[in-house]
Subunit: 648 residues, 3 copies
């Protein structure tokens, strides 16, 4: 992997052609090397069916490449033009309540519409034919932000038909389906696949097995939709294929979709996501309103590093206030630089800012950019330029595997959304709690897909909340010599969404059973003898193995057989830190107790410290101002540090 570099998202079609050359020159001057274009430009490329307008796009590509920029070209399939809806009126998705999701914004299509899938392949092919061999186009983005705006699930007639076909393929006979779903319950038995509807608009909750298959199907439909474009583009280009994922979208299996692409990228909006999709309370949101959650970005960096088969990027980096969160404050000065360095320390090959110049019109006119609507530099431009210069100080650090890893499984997110058993139980939140606990202890962490069959040289693996085992993961555990922490709720279902007759967790290595579970309201936490408590989720265990921790009332909290541990509840922050530290000591893993809001990341022979606070902190003998970074070598030498660094 080469030295990381910077990029920007650009919409030439939004600006007069006579500005393009200046824009390109300014991009280069700012130290940017990549520019992404084209992902919403369908109506300009093909203003009417089969009538194409290439002049402007040819010119834009020429202008940008001539300035020395590398181009990411995109397929515009997230925004089919109005004429497409006229051509395929039923391509519109349908929401859970049965209402259509009409033209007028974006992502107005159902993944199960075969006609639209063909149109997507057609436009990808035409673009590939025209630009696939262009050497300045060094990557291709397919579509934009799958799943954004709650678009993963559609309850259309097309989806229903496709779901039935998917079920026939999976089950072959209706008897198999009835048995797998347990349809004898409530007389839900079917006699024909064509009688099966989508699991919405039922009187009370539908069968979780029914929902789970619909969730799997919906994920598969997105993967299939994406694959069609991959296949077409590969016929025409050697450049790597990319999709830009989002934060905390779990409705499709990113690992499976990512397997069809070379590069995983994501759109990182730390402040928007803090307001919009965080479990933290109001006090936390107020404290970090201008900085973002100190762990949210890193967690996604580590997820997408695992999703990308060859590399991972930030495709869209928040550069200032966004327009879509409940509150849209400006980042603390320094945060855009901090976010950029943080991403690179997690292995990002490119960090690309969204967007070059603030659009004065339409939905995102209040979204900040590197350039103001009047063409002047926004305040953030100085931070971008600073990073561009600082890149020269890099010493070729490479991202290495961490000693600690967490298994993250999209299907488990679907399972526990289908059957939370508590309004507070959320799979992402559970895994993120483990991640946060490890980060607070100064550890770098890898995320692993559930299809991992070898944990490698790692020392400590966490598998919280895993819906159901698969053979590969069982293999990985059985041959692993490090420590594995399993649970709560892991292995609690068969693939058919049933409770195994042997009871969970169903792991051969551990002679134990989860005999009962319960969910806890705030205030009903279960204290542990050694400190901290279980919250949200608690399990009752019978075990023949070692009891390593107990609750205050004498139930088993953790049981283990040598290196394999089962955790019988959801630890609160105190318990999490304590348990992690105990395990770390066991395996000689060095941990540190980082000050609030301070995080670090190991990067080759260096370590990056970042200050997410709006106050200074004392780190490694240095005073680290708010929103500032410290890149320090193992030998203690500072590579990048605060301008006026005070050593205390």
């Amino acid at each position: 992997m080469s030295k990381p570099s910077l990029g920007v998202c650009y919409y030439p079609e939004h600006w007069p052609e006579d500005q393009w050359k200046d824009h390109a020159a300014q991009m280069v001057a700012a130290g940017l090397t990549w520019v992404r274009i084209g992902e919403f430009a369908w109506s300009r490329i093909e203003p009417a069916p089969d009538r194409f307008n290439w002049g402007w796009l040819d010119h834009a590509i020429d202008t940008l490449s001539h300035a020395g920029l590398k181009i990411v070209m995109s397929t515009p399939t997230a925004t089919p033009p109005r004429w497409m809806i006229a051509k395929h009126p039923d391509m519109i998705a349908v929401d859970k309540g049965g209402q259509p999701r009409n033209f007028g914004s974006r992502r107005h299509y159902c993944f199960s519409h075969e006609g639209y899938k063909k149109e997507s392949a057609r436009i990808a092919k035409i673009l590939g034919q025209r630009y696939g061999k262009n050497p300045d186009i060094q990557a291709w983005q397919i579509d934009n932000e799958y799943g954004c705006h709650d678009t993963s699930l559609s309850y259309s007639t097309n989806a229903e038909t496709a779901f039935r076909i998917w079920l026939i393929k999976k089950y072959a006979t209706i008897e198999s389906l009835n048995a797998a779903w347990g349809n004898v319950f409530w007389s839900m038995e079917y006699t024909d696949f064509n009688d099966i509807a989508l699991p919405n608009l039922t009187v009370t909750e539908p069968n979780p097995a029914h929902v789970m298959d619909f969730r799997r199907f919906s994920s598969d439909q997105i993967i299939a939709f994406n694959r069609v474009q991959c296949d077409v583009l590969r016929d025409h280009t050697q450049a790597p294929l990319i999709h830009n994922y989002m934060g905390r979208i779990t409705e499709f299996d990113h690992f499976k979709l990512g397997a069809d692409l070379e590069i995983a990228s994501w759109d990182s909006y730390p402040l928007g996501f803090l307001e919009d999709r965080s479990d933290q309370d109001e006090a936390f949101k107020t404290e970090f309103a201008r900085q973002g959650d100190p762990d949210f970005q890193a967690f996604h960096h580590d997820i997408y590093r695992a999703v990308g088969t060859k590399a991972w990027w930030i495709m869209e980096q928040q550069p200032g206030p966004v327009n879509w969160a409940p509150y849209n404050p400006a980042p603390l000065p320094g945060m855009v630089r901090l976010w950029t360095w943080e991403a690179m320390a997690h292995g990002a090959e490119v960090v690309s800012y969204f967007r070059w110049k603030q659009a004065p019109f339409a939905q995102e006119q209040m979204h900040a950019a590197l350039k103001r609507p009047d063409g002047q530099d926004a305040a953030v431009m100085d931070e971008v330029k600073q990073v561009a210069k600082e890149l020269d100080t890099l010493q070729g650090q490479k991202t290495q595997n961490s000693r600690v890893a967490i298994v993250f499984d999209y299907a488990s997110a679907w399972a526990w959304e289908t059957q939370p058993q508590s309004k507070d139980f959320d799979y992402f939140r559970l895994v993120f709690d483990f991640y946060r606990g490890l980060r607070r202890a100064g550890l770098s962490v890898d995320i692993l897909p559930p299809s991992t069959d070898d944990f490698g040289e790692r020392s400590l693996i966490f598998i919280p909340g895993l819906f159901s085992w698969n053979a590969k993961l069982e293999t990985a555990i059985s041959k692993f010599e490090g420590d594995v922490v399993i649970g709560p709720r892991s292995g609690s279902k068969t693939q058919d969404f049933q409770i195994s007759e042997k009871l969970p967790p169903g792991l051969e290595q551990l002679n134990m059973k989860v005999v009962a579970v319960e969910s806890l309201r705030p205030g009903n936490e279960i204290p542990l003898k050694q400190g901290g408590a279980f919250r949200i989720w608690n399990e009752f265990i019978e075990s023949s193995e070692t009891v390593s921790e107990q609750t205050v009332d004498g139930h088993i909290a953790i049981t283990n057989k040598e290196n394999i541990h089962y955790l019988a509840g959801w630890p609160d922050d105190t318990a999490m830190s304590r348990i992690l530290k105990r395990l770390a000591v066991k395996i000689n893993l060095e941990t540190i107790c980082l000050p609030r809001g301070i995080r670090c990341r190991d990067w080759g022979d260096t370590r990056l410290y970042i200050n997410y606070n709006n106050t200074p902190a004392f780190v490694q003998g240095h005073t680290l101002p708010p929103a500032d970074i410290l890149l320090i070598h193992k030998d203690g030498s500072v590579i990048i540090g605060p301008k006026e660094m005070a050593t205390q």
Copy 2:
């Protein structure tokens, strides 16, 4: 009435036939004598229209009865199979927003669909013909949990048509309807019954008289639906007929429906109901999360004792965590035994646990049972066995009428839901506040229907929030020599949902008028001179009678003419206790001030004390551990008490 006994709900169709015999033997060994089967088994009984499969059911009945169990057979009409919907696509109910409530869970039918009503009669008849004379089937349950999942009201075309017919029957002429509803208001006058729609999807609130008639109609439709099955079954069996009602469902008149049956039963889920349908605040819910509201169960026991014409049962008793509440904790050890004894002390003939063995599949796989999915006893089994043994200590106590009673009127619930006049006004909550106040004072209470025409030997009657008088209740009051407390809001409407020209409460005995009313936000309570306050609701009174209490600002709070009292507001806890005590003293009714969470119930010559706290309490000279009971004779001798009973 014979000695109370225990039962269980069982689904033989969920388990391999070779397990049935063991199951039956274990039921008997645990001390259970009743088993309910069949209520969701339609797709197994009739897998396709008119194609029947009796073998398994014959075998199940044989197996259970052979083990010595008495069987409750059920009609499976709460879960019509998928083929039924194909046959009658318009049998699906429609929600208030106009959306269909489709197949995929249960209760997917509209009570107004005549075709489905005929199908229900058909299956009841076929079952009655086959099993009606079977001596081991000693009771029949019709359908399951009417009204559950908000299914009492349907806004379908079938309901609209039926409603028009109902209106024609009631009003005969459209002029009568217009006059009764006051349709001159806002030009709502109709010229034809066929122009009247259901009262949903209006621009702003519909006419309350329109809504009230729709609510009466909807209740009548459920009663009619049930009656058809009663009539059919009575042709074939002598066994008593049962329905299993729910907690805090007020959408249909249980007294009227219950009049068609011998036994009223209800499904008691103390922890689920506390989370799901309680007006109490979060602190209360946290305190009682593992025990349930100390008054909720008793209140329903007393309601259903009044609903049952010959007996009342618990048909489904929560045995552990359920799957459907926002939080699903495990009961405190001892609570299942406590709930069982509490029900029996209120006169339950049978307490039947839900369910025998936890289903590993479908919607209720997270619902605990007496048996775990692996076939082992769940922890609760010991409590069940303990109760079964303790039953031998009973001395034939009989349930007697209490000296205190409250009138509970389903129509009033509809009325004040239609016209709450405050977001905090709720009829159930109002009546339950009176009930709770009486229970805190150690009193046993009877619930009376509004059709009561004789209060019997009782001493004190409460009639809070009664929508409208009827002749029977007026008769009961006029001939009663005990004290009656009426109001707030009682008698405030005519049966046509109009304010009487004479103003409320419209009771001949009392020369007084409610001249104005108001609803109060929290913080605007009206203090009473003698202590406590009115909250939520306050009335301004003109009275020629005695003023027995005043508000601090000098308005009438209570007025009475001898034994008839009118209460001009909703008392808070302090006022409620004080007022009840004052009345009790007046009539020489002994009250006690029970510790928080402790309740008692008189049962023949014995009294049952129960501890709903998670801490011990000191009761009658005994230390009562959490979740424990004390059954004590009038003479002070302990019949059942804590194992290690400490006398202080």
Copy 3:
């Protein structure tokens, strides 16, 4: 303008004819001189299409006028009878979710239905022909409460068709529309006006320019609907035309609609509005539950004084508890008198109470009136009679222009509802915050429409949150010698809902730019150096003008060039008071610091003090009891004061 007078709303059709004469005599005896009738009586006037029933209405008019009352006749178009819907089934409006808004209450029509508009003209014409020359009918009300029950916007097919026509008229070519809306964004470009749908049911937010045009169109449709009736009535009567507006309804341009009428009236429900449509917190609502918000009524009085071309009235004054708010308490005794006097001091020509006698039936049966349902006086009648007598003490005070004014712009309300950029940003709330600040300082305030081209003799003008400039207002500013305070957010868009390339605020006089904006969550306020803070909204400014205030962190908070000030944020209460005081000192405007809950209003040579508290206050040397008024001459003499006035 003559001396103000009192009136009442009356529904003769609700009462037996033999009561009318008594009612009329009692109205006169109470001191009322106006009576409004007819606005919901369509089904009685025309019980079937083209079949009329005039007898009762002729008789009612005769009875009322014979008693000496002046009549406001109304068109009944807010309540089309059931037969009208049969005739025009598609006249029903459609809500944002796509559901019809059916018959069964009121306002069940879509403003874009041409058939219903013709019917409205027809009934107005017929009424005008019959009663237009009747000298006792001295005013005409058209329809009732436009926009009430969220009826301004309809998403019907009729609205869609009309919107397309409106767009064609505005843009002529689809290219113009695409450019104005910026439809190149997200490929939203249209090729045909007929492809444009209404902006609901989109996947994510629609284009704000699309929404803004729909909002303008929707306002225009209401104005057009109203104008048709105006035109018809003017052919038949010389009497002034009135509409009765509501509180805090901003969905249509009241200034534009009001230009077609002589009299603006509004329906003032201080307690209902406090509960139902206030931004204040629960503590404030509890404190003022029986009095209303001390500024809400005055603000609307001042708005509607500006809306009325010749006069303004209160058409419906709350007389007691209403039936439609979440809580419906009784007003503190004295408040109805206070509200009446307050309205008159703001220039109300008539204050008319709603309603004469409480209806015993239908939707508003719980709405208090001057008469109880039993025909006796409600307690409030004494207050009405007192006011009627006190009117004699008036000395012909006239309403004069205030030295301070605020520009209020309905289009800005639509704009920021379309694009709030913060869940707390609301245009009404912003303007009302300025208004409240001025009132707390003892100032009387005028409201000005955005079409003002001359600020007259005023000294201080506020223009907060103005969406976009227009030529008239720019003229008014340029020729004004007083001080103008602009911002925050003023002039931030072009009329096409785009950000100007020159950046906001786009005012030639000020050499400054808003270079960035942000919205703030509670807890992230921006403190100002001189005290107080910005909340909700903050702007980053570049200015060549004087910096008159800074934030604590050194950004520009206020910049000004002589008399023109730009305010870069939303001041909290402390900052608002301080800034207003500083400006007042600059221009020699006397301010006072009123006690909490006390307000005053200058009225000719007198000043009215009012006490909105439920406790006494010390004002101008007098103790003012709760809910009482003090009308005092400039020379210090008391015209109307508390009965037992204590001077301290």
